[in-house]
Amino acid sequence: MATVAKYLLGMWIAATVVLAYRWLPPAEGFAVPEAAPIVALHLPLALVAIIAAVVAAAQGVRYLTGRNLASDARSKNAAALAALFCLLTTVTGSAFARVQWGGYWNWDPKQTCIAILLAVYAAYFVLRAGVDDPEKRAAVSGVYIVFAGILTPMLGYVVPKYLAKFSLHPTNTQFDSRYWTVILFATLGFTGLYVWMQNLANRFDVAGLVLQQRLAEAEEAPAPRLVTMATAASGADTEATAWTTR
């Protein structure tokens, strides 16, 4: 990523933070007006978590078809970042719940989905740690993340249906245009941050793979040799006969 892009991203997110805290009016629906910025940052974090989840599943499919360990590394990195953003979403969500309703958890449908997604990635990394051969680990992880990618979207439909009646969270908070502007800014900013992190993690892993490849090639391994039995039997080929007596 070009250096100018990095600094632009840095300023963009800083500007978003300032906007969130200074420019946002305290929405009337909230008991604590200062809680407004957290909401404006909470939603974008969830969106980026889902973007990372999609990338993780897509790279999983790419590994299963292409069998290139770099795809597996990208899938793993995307999964790690998805877990990170899920965690940030859950933390900001419960911080907001704490400020708004006193409880750290209020079974808000969207928040519950993100927390379950976090559990998927926790399980993913436990599975990854359990397999040692890199290729088998890549295959098993790829399959699990694609299988999860098929089953988890249902959460978006099922969880709101069942948890709606518990949730204290006004499901359709009315955001005025300024909120949506900050949410858009924050989403773009966090997406940029995610892309930057993913890029760095991928390049780090790829460099590791290249070194590993060289290490394997550098290793001296005697080349296999084909010996015809006729010579061995007649004893003309000393190595072959030497081999029979071993």
């Binding site: 599975l127 740690a129 359990g130 098993v140 089953l151 249902m154 969880v159 249906k161």
Partner: protein, 241 residues
């Protein structure tokens, strides 16, 4: 169609080997027995009240129907996680997986084992459920509905468990992995399952009508279809890798 004959051969083999060793059956049976005993002990003193629609919401959640509906699914999930993993783990450890991979297609292997696991899960559920209901003194308002919910739920649960068990068989540290891997994927099934079971027991449905649980049955049904399809699509990558 030869495909079903081959899957049938795997299914028959699973039943025969399981019947001769009863490894999974005993693991599942003992686990369920232990859980049921613990539940019986913990609820022995305080008989729960029955559901009454006029009671306020918080009290309603503590009624027999609600507790039984939830505990049943906790029991089913953890008992399944104890017994259903055995089939692949044993094949991998013994080396019979090699012989099977040389002889059978991945989909027939999964289908045969899935059918055997579903049967095991149904046997467990249809034995443990009545005992649990007896312990909590719950008479289901609509027994037919209860069986439907448990049946369709078991079909979906066994699919995810069988698929994940094949992944676990490839890992070195296996203990507890099946529950950890399968639980986050099963949340939609549990939500619908618990809700449907409660409705069948009479929670918010004293008359035992079918309509309150129709949506749950639909969720359970579509979940099972998606889980089975996904398993058939992806199993080749697990089995032959």
């Amino acid at each position: 169609m030869s495909w079903t004959a081959e899957a049938g051969a795997v299914f028959a083999k699973e039943l025969r080997t399981e019947w001769r060793t009863r490894v999974a059956l005993s693991a599942v049976g003992l686990f369920a027995l232990a859980s049921l005993t613990l539940i019986a002990l913990s609820f022995r003193g305080a008989p729960l009240t029955s559901f009454r629609s006029d009671a306020d919401r918080a009290l309603q959640l503590l009624t027999r129907e609600a507790v039984a509906g939830s505990l049943l699914w906790v029991l089913i999930f953890f008992t399944a996680a104890t017994g259903l993993g055995r089939t692949f783990v044993q094949e991998a450890e013994r080396g019979t997986a090699l012989a099977l991979r040389l002889s059978a297609r991945a989909t027939t292997v999964w289908t045969g084992k899935y059918a055997a696991n579903t049967l095991l899960l149904l046997v467990l559920t249809l034995i443990a459920a009545p005992i649990l209901l007896a312990i909590l003194e719950v008479r289901p308002a609509n027994a037919g509905l209860l069986v439907c919910v448990l049946l369709i739920g078991a079909v979906g649960l066994a699919a995810v468990m069988t698929f994940t068990a094949a992944l676990v068989a490839q890992a070195s540290a296996k203990s507890g992995l099946l529950a950890a891997l399968s639980f986050p994927l099963l949340v939609p099934l549990f939500l619908a399952g618990v809700n449907g079971t409660k409705a069948a027991l009479g929670f918010g449905n004293e008359a035992g009508r079918w309509t309150p649980a129709l949506a749950d049955l639909q969720v359970l049904g579509s979940y099972a279809v998606i889980a089975v399809t996904a398993s058939l699509l992806l199993f080749d990558f697990v089995w032959n890798d």
